[in-house]
């Protein structure tokens, strides 16, 4: 068993409630109800335990985390125990009063997701009237409150044509960073894959736009970009490797190595109501299951990349092959391409040739290492 390092970040899914209805939402198909949600004092204890375990950052997420009225209290507590606090929000509940209250509570950073730049299209994808305008307003309030902003632009075949304008929107909203996030096909998005998965040609056009904008906006806007798995030649190190960097707490208190892990069969994910975060992280079966490389089968077992991408995404491997121990089928080293090809064909896009994608994990910086703390 490899040495177990402390997690870098915790994704605190405060609730599955959300006024929006994005067809690619990463929440499970089986949404947890409000009455199952953890109480405020339970979250306070989790934050204490996370800080003691060596966690550095907390991402308050959901659902819509602002649907919880104790969000400000949780942010204040997280800040008091030294955690770097990030709010991941749709923005539609972020009025002047709450922007000020969150800043006063010590919030460090806000990420607002955008469905589009076009009002009608944005509202259509979000399934919420006036969403797009409210998001722009929220972004201005965030900057007005002196908080740094990341625009999370979720892209897919129905909005990729407006990617350049989405990047301009981030500049206009005075964001320091934009994350151009291709939809990841789990949960709701997997259901909608045929409607969302871009073609290879669309993807190439998008990559060219990002490269041009990165050069032009160097030093002004950081652009993070991850290509969708189905068009990649190598899988990503999902969550930086199972049980290596992140833990995710669901609204009802289950602790997962990644937000989609509940799609995997045969797991009994431990609850913060029954065990400490440290015990769950270090010694639960669920977290140890895919740690290291001893669980791997061929071609991963003897692959030189096995400690780079850790065999890819377990949820994707299971969703596409039915075997949770399988090599992620997006990997070009998987001899049998029929699974991936069928998936791409089923998505109504012609099966594209695979292209190289940068592994989403570590980016070496000399002489320090920057490590992303969001999956």
């Amino acid at each position: 068993m490899p040495e177990i390092e402390a997690p870098l970040a915790i994704l605190a899914e405060l609730t599955h409630r959300c006024p929006l209805q994005c067809p690619y939402c990463s929440n499970p198909l089986e949404l947890e109800r409000a009455r199952q949600e953890l109480e405020t004092d339970e979250w306070l204890r989790i934050l204490d335990e996370a800080a003691a375990l060596g966690v550095l950052q907390v991402h308050f997420s959901g659902g819509e985390p602002m649907a919880r009225r104790d969000l400000e209290a949780l942010v204040a507590h997280a800040a008091a125990v030294g955690l770097y606090t990030n709010l991941i929000t749709s923005g539609v509940m972020l009025d002047d009063r709450r922007a000020a209250a969150l800043a006063a509570a010590g919030l460090d950073h806000v990420q607002i997701s955008f469905q589009d730049v076009d009002d009608a299209e944005g509202d259509r994808i979000a399934g919420y009237k006036d969403a797009q305008r409210q998001k722009r307003e929220a972004a201005r309030r965030v900057r007005g409150a002196g908080l740094p902003l990341t625009v999370n632009a979720v892209v897919h075949r129905q909005n990729l044509a407006r990617l350049a304008e989405m990047i301009e929107l981030a500049v206009e909203l005075d964001a320091a960073r934009i994350e151009v996030a291709h939809v990841q096909y789990y949960g709701w998005a997997l259901r909608n894959r045929a409607a969302l998965l871009p073609s290879r040609a669309q993807l190439d056009a998008a990559t060219a736009i990002v490269e041009e904008a990165r050069e032009r906006l160097r030093g002004r806007l950081v652009i993070d970009y991850v290509v969708p798995d189905y068009h990649a030649a190598l899988p990503k190190a999902c969550m930086g490797g199972w049980g290596r960097r992140f833990l995710n707490v669901t609204p009802s208190g289950h602790v997962l190595p990644c937000h989609a892990a509940e799609t995997l069969p045969g797991f009994d994910f431990p609850s913060v109501r029954e065990a400490s975060l440290a015990a769950i992280w270090r010694s639960s079966d669920a977290f140890n299951r895919f740690r290291g490389t001893s669980w791997m089968q061929e071609p991963c077992r003897n692959c030189e990349r096995r400690e780079i991408d850790w065999g890819g995404c377990r949820c994707q491997a299971f969703a596409l092959t039915g075997d949770i121990n399988a090599t992620d089928p997006v990997c070009g080293k998987v001899a049998d391409r029929t699974i991936l090809e069928a998936a791409v064909r089923e998505s109504a896009a012609p099966p594209p040739p695979l292209i190289y994608r940068r592994i989403g994990g570590e980016q070496p910086v000399r002489p320090a290492t920057v490590v992303p703390t969001a999956g």
Binding site: L53, G82, H109, V171, D174, V365, A368, V370
Partner: protein, 102 residues
């Protein structure tokens, strides 16, 4: 402050580096290590990067930082300068530091 508006200058000897707002250098008791906290990023500085970052106070110029480090590490300032400028330029492009003159 006009971050996100005009292209920043490149880091040179006259630059006055400071951590950007909402970036903080923090000692983690649980990890017994210095870390840099930034939006959705952490940075684990090595000893040299830490020594540089601890001097990015928005007052000292790169030239002053180089002089201080050269004497602290007993190294030729000309060599130190190249490394410090390269490190700071990289950190500026990653949104960790800014030039207080911008």
């Amino acid at each position: 402050m006009n971050e996100g508006r005009t292209p920043p200058r490149r880091i040179d000897a006259d630059a006055i580096p400071r951590l950007k707002p909402h970036v903080r250098l923090q000692f983690s008791e649980a990890r017994s290590a210095w870390i840099v906290q930034a939006p959705e990023r952490v940075l684990m500085p090595d000893d040299i990067a830490l020594a540089v970052l601890q001097r990015c106070d928005g007052v000292a110029s790169v030239a002053a930082i180089v002089t201080a480090l050269a004497s602290a590490y007993d190294a030729p300032p000309s060599e130190v300068e190249g490394d410090v400028v390269e490190l700071l330029q990289d950190l500026a492009e990653k949104g960790i530091i800014a030039d207080a003159r911008d």
